[in-house]
């Protein structure tokens, strides 16, 4: 599979919490760290704001992967929003599986406001992994329906 | 395995080096001879031909310097890898032929230190088989082993 995906540039939607992960991504920028351009960020106040609807919508609209990033457990600006996300992850992955989408396409990561290098690693690693997985099967479906 | 000085320097975190000398001060060899680990790292960092420096071969690879480096410079790993370059660039440690003899023995018998007739006799005295159970015991094993060595860069270097 790997060799076939040489030219494939995955589209990944990233939901970053305003306080930790978005700030971490900002720091990666001001530190001029370089990473792959495949993740497109949508800012939310808390990872707990990420309605499962958003995730499924993203896949429906052709995303190859979805990244949710929030504060580390215990560090949530809203005390426990990230724990709620953690619990939702399980259900969302199950549902994706039933939809024929590899649950690996959805990731939850903790990135603090200071962890710019961690953000870079997460983005690069996720891009790599999604590349290996190839385009989302849903995407092809969307395309063929059109 | 491509290896260039630049790769070795990067992989060894040598760009982190602050020339504090903790490596040299920890070196048991440096107390008896002229090796200065700090200088070797500095030369590598500056892009000098550190592989041509004879002190490179005075390191016993005890890893004390690497263990103590506050900047995570992989000093010992680097010395070993720079030696690889020295060998491929023909900066052989000329002081002794012994290393070559060891490698030749490794090829011929599977052991770097071969079994002598005297030791063989001693083995039987203490109740061991005269010949140990190893790759050299069975001809097919040894042939396979040599076949493996034949494709490795090691033998090409020794053959030079």
């Amino acid at each position: 599979m790997n060799e076939d995906n040489g030219d494939f540039e995955p589209k990944i939607v990233g939901f970053l919490c305003n306080w930790c992960s978005y700030a971490g991504a900002d720091l990666a920028g001001s530190s001029r760290l370089k990473y792959k351009p495949n993740v497109r960020v949508i800012r939310v106040m808390c990872s707990g704001r990420v309605d499962p609807l958003f995730v499924f919508k993203a896949f429906e609209k052709g995303a190859d992967g979805v990244l949710i990033a929030g504060c580390h457990p215990g560090d949530c600006h809203y005390q426990c929003g990230n724990y709620k996300t953690m619990r939702r992850m399980h259900v969302m992955k199950k549902m994706l599986e039933q939809m024929g989408i590899s649950p690996e396409r959805l990731r939850l990561e903790w990135v603090s406001a200071a962890e710019s290098t961690r953000f870079v690693n997460v983005v690069n690693d996720m891009t790599e992994k999604i590349k290996e997985l190839g385009p989302s099967p849903l995407k092809e479906e969307v395309a063929s329906n059109e | 395995m491509s290896k260039t000085m630049k790769e070795i320097t990067e992989r060894g975190n040598a760009y982190n080096c602050i020339q504090c000398g903790r490596c040299t001060g920890s070196c048991p060899s440096g107390r008896e001879c002229s090796i200065r680990t700090r200088k070797l790292i500095h030369l590598a960092k500056m892009g000098e031909e550190v592989f041509a420096v004879p002190e490179l071969w005075e390191c016993t690879t005890c890893f004390t310097c690497q263990e103590r480096c506050p900047k995570d410079v992989k000093t010992t790993d680097m010395i070993i890898e720079i030696r690889n370059i020295a060998v491929s660039e023909n900066y052989f440690p000329t002081m002794s032929e012994v290393p070559k003899i060891i490698i030749k023995s490794l090829y011929d018998t599977g052991s770097g230190q071969p079994l002598s007739p005297e030791v063989s006799k001693m083995r039987s005295i203490i109740g061991l088989a005269k010949e140990p159970f190893d790759v050299g015991k069975n001809e097919k094993d040894l042939k396979d082993f040599q076949k493996l060595l034949d494709i490795l860069p090691l033998m090409k270097e020794v053959a030079k």
Partner: protein
């Protein structure tokens, strides 16, 4: 019964076979099975790794691959062999590119290695069965010993997981059989043999070991106890070369063999260049006392 693949190493079998034998006797006493394989030389870090690392990884991986199908881990009795095999195991498990390259090489002789079979230094096995070691003791040797941790058993710690600045395991192990580990200056420094220095820079190698032997001699010990056949060779042979020393050198398994009541002849004590005569006398006296 626990079982391990047994890696005696070139020095242990071809130069000081007493170490190979002592190991077999000791682990037999401890009810640990040892299985033999058609191993080659580890190969030596100082010579082969310094000449070409890829070759070093490949030859090491061939050794690790031999016992993999039987699901056995590999017991080493030499810090050098341990350093090589453990480093190869660690590196291959953390570097897929290297693993692929090595397996491509091994494929020419129809072998492969997955990274499962892992090397263990014999002292770590002893550490996990201290009670058994203690109860197997027949003779209280009562030796004062200088212990020598081989560098490659301890370092680099991010690979070995040991604490190289203040190790205590060996001191504790000799304590289990009634021996006292005597502290001495720079006890953790290198014996001077590694890195190809013994073969490539013999004069330097002798200088390093002489400093070490001087420090040990001040403490008036009965023996130097090591856990590395290569260090063993350096300690023994260099004393002969330096002519001014006569401190008996024992591999830990030889010391354990004595404490377990095995005959000194079977432990190959007489194969050392440094005379063990006084030591053997002490063992005989201790045997009488213990009886």
């Amino acid at each position: 019964m626990r079982e391990y693949a047994y890696f005696p190493g070139c020095i242990g079998k071809n130069v000081y076979p007493g170490i190979e034998k002592a190991t077999r006797l000791v682990f037999d006493t401890l009810d640990v099975g040892l299985r033999d394989y058609a191993y080659s030389c580890c190969p030596p870090p100082g010579v082969v790794a310094c000449y070409d690392k890829e070759s070093w990884y490949t030859i090491g991986a061939r050794n690790l691959a031999l016992s993999e199908q039987d699901g056995l881990d590999i017991m080493t009795i030499c810090a050098g062999c341990y350093g090589t095999l453990h480093n190869v195991w660690h590196e291959l498990n953390h570097n897929k590119e290297l693993m692929d390259k090595v397996n491509e090489n091994l494929d020419t002789i129809g072998m492969s290695y997955s990274g499962k079979s892992r090397p263990i230094h014999f002292v770590d096995i002893l550490d996990s069965m201290r009670d058994k070691v203690k109860s197997s003791k027949e003779i209280d040797l009562g030796f004062k010993v200088a212990v020598h941790y081989g560098c490659h058993y301890l370092k680099p710690s991010d690979v070995t997981g040991e604490s190289p600045e203040e190790p205590t395991l060996l001191d504790e192990l000799v304590g289990l059989i009634g021996c006292e580990s005597v502290p001495f200056k720079d006890r953790l420094t290198c014996c001077g043999a590694g890195g190809g220095v013994m073969s490539g820079e013999p004069d330097l190698s002798l200088k390093i070991i002489k400093t070490k032997l001087d420090n040990i001699r001040k403490k008036d010990v009965d023996a130097i106890v090591n856990i590395c056949s290569f260090c063993h060779m350096q300690f023994d042979q260099s004393q002969k070369k330096l002519k001014t020393f006569d401190i008996p050198v024992l591999h830990l398994n030889q010391l354990l063999g004595l404490a377990f009541g095995h005959k000194q002849k079977h432990l190959g004590l007489h194969m050392n260049l440094v005379s063990n005569r006084d030591l053997v006398k002490k063992v005989k006296m201790a045997r009488k006392v213990s009886a």
